[in-house]
Subunit: 211 residues, 4 copies
Amino acid sequence: MKNGAPAVATLPRREREKLRQREELLTAALELFSEKGYHSVSMHQIAQRAEFAVGTVYKFFKNKEDLYKALILAKVAEYHQILKETLDQEKDIPSLLHDYVAAKAAVLVGGAATLRLYFAETRGASFNIKAGLDRDIRKLYDEVVARLASVLDTGVKTKVFRKLDPYQMAMALEGITNAFLFGWLEDPQRHPYEANIPTMIDMFFLGVSLK
Amino acid sequence: MKNGAPAVATLPRREREKLRQREELLTAALELFSEKGYHSVSMHQIAQRAEFAVGTVYKFFKNKEDLYKALILAKVAEYHQILKETLDQEKDIPSLLHDYVAAKAAVLVGGAATLRLYFAETRGASFNIKAGLDRDIRKLYDEVVARLASVLDTGVKTKVFRKLDPYQMAMALEGITNAFLFGWLEDPQRHPYEANIPTMIDMFFLGVSLK
Amino acid sequence: MKNGAPAVATLPRREREKLRQREELLTAALELFSEKGYHSVSMHQIAQRAEFAVGTVYKFFKNKEDLYKALILAKVAEYHQILKETLDQEKDIPSLLHDYVAAKAAVLVGGAATLRLYFAETRGASFNIKAGLDRDIRKLYDEVVARLASVLDTGVKTKVFRKLDPYQMAMALEGITNAFLFGWLEDPQRHPYEANIPTMIDMFFLGVSLK
Amino acid sequence: MKNGAPAVATLPRREREKLRQREELLTAALELFSEKGYHSVSMHQIAQRAEFAVGTVYKFFKNKEDLYKALILAKVAEYHQILKETLDQEKDIPSLLHDYVAAKAAVLVGGAATLRLYFAETRGASFNIKAGLDRDIRKLYDEVVARLASVLDTGVKTKVFRKLDPYQMAMALEGITNAFLFGWLEDPQRHPYEANIPTMIDMFFLGVSLK
DNA sequence: CATGAATGAGGGTTCATTCAT
DNA sequence: AATGAATGAACCCTCATTCAT
């Protein structure tokens, strides 16, 4: 790295091109899977939407399952990474919770497609398209909830919150935010998410606060 | 029931027999769909589990989609019917909410199968297996939430709750209960549902109570 | 089997029909495989030639390989069975050898198709379409050669033949008959097989006779 | 070596280089085809083993079939050339036959790969991968057998052999040698070829000798 | 009327071949 | 000239649906 340019920029043109194509495929796949679900999307359709031939898809992904896993795991990992970082900030608990709920909104800019798939996977509707994917996602999800619980636990110890099970508090917060996210997904006009962040926080906070 | 025997009993034997067979098919289908998901279950499997020939299944249901819709709608309608009736009781608000949350638990005795499918459908993971199914389910769901909101609205008006949007309060309660239900589904040992009903009510109630 | 009818005749009509269809499929497959080889024949072609839909083929055979194995093993087993029985007769050695060589001709009535496939498989050109098939065929083949060798060994012990390795004598006889069979396959007019049986026997017999 | 250098040496360097590359491709292809058979080898594999790009293979051979034909014909032609030359020597008949059988062994040092493919092709197992290849090979083969028959015919005329059809005698000798070759291919330990040359000659010779 | 054999469209995947670089 | 990314026809197989018995 003598010439100091960032790694990404120094990738050979060919490599960058490949990555771009991979992204295009993933984007096409995300849209289609999100619209119709895993089984109702054919590899031909994905290739077509990405403007490739079927064979090309198989240069990037071993098979349909592999493509799906790559898609889901990338999105989920990215999303949970953001959430964990949010919770790792050095802030007072109310700010932390606010940031957390706001960060969940951030994923929405990735579009309803991602969110819809995310719900399908994290809410157990995937019916184990691939054993192992479930587990991987579950693990990431649990990490976030655990991190959230530890924040809430601090709140309990510092007498901010009542003596409730922190994991159950985390579940409650997850439930509230997911419900609002889902409302947004169904009807964004009627259920704006960001505008309701204070409401969510408020309800949750009072629900668990000590006095 | 003055005017004679209950409706079911008055059906000609032939008709009753048919209904029973239909139920057997739906039961078999429910188990299988819940285990493996819509696309991974074949009509032959359903027929086999119900101990019919494939052709017979088509006497009862136009096609696979039709069978699925019938199955889902029946379960969802039954479930929401119970919830609505629960909320229609003449009780004070805390009791009502408790009954509501408890009623959600009642469906669990029907088995995880129903619940899993219920989540798949209400949480948007079905990816519109049949356009229109979504809408039908949505409608039933909205009725329940509306009924719940009206109860909560009464709470606001009677100064039991703070001045929050009743619909949003309903969403929050839905979110909390669903989160716990989902936890139970994933790991019933670790997340017992019934034992946590007071916790849920408690968190929600304090979150929305007027002091 | 009280009613004394032969098993086959008593098979329900349905069963007999199924067997007939299976035979039709095997016949179509034999012709095609023999004409073009395993990899150049598609399941659609086989179904078409037998006047079935593809799906039907899969009612009878798990997959293409299974069909191929069934085809080959049936023919080879039948063929080797005949040869072994021929060699098991209680006759003098010259008669035995004559019958053996003549029996090899008998398979020809099954047609060149069978023979061509037989050569492909026993002469090692199959390149292990399926590991295991090779072994099965090899085993059957070895049994016949061993049986033949034991006959020849008797010839040696009774001083009919010179003191040669019976297994090698068997190989020589196999070689001669196969060469003539192959000649017939290439050009039946120019290389009639049956007419040459005495010649083959003659050459072989004198080659190994004790004076 | 002025202008009189051997043809190969006088080829421009470029041409020689091309020929060498062609050979490398053929060698790689021979190994692979022999190991797995025509249909189970991809052009990519061949290119890879020869350390070329796929495109390059198509500079040398019009298509896969063309490559295969070139490979087979080259080997077969070379092999039959040797056999014919062997039979063209001015020697007594027993020596000639011995040399012939020994020459068949010589090809074995070229490896089982060649032999396996040779059997696949000459024994009709190739199923006409390319119509026309059969004919070309058959022609070469027939020339050798004809040459062998003419030697044997001389034997008949000089009263070395009995009055048998020389062509049929040739077929018998071919059969015997092929059987032993095949035995060697299957299990070189159990069926050494060279050690058995005298046995083969012996059996054949006595089989056809006059007294 | 119930049956289940038969159908064939459609899906995932491979690989011979082409052609822009 | 050499490369190998891209193509898409064709393959094997499954399964929803039909219909003769």
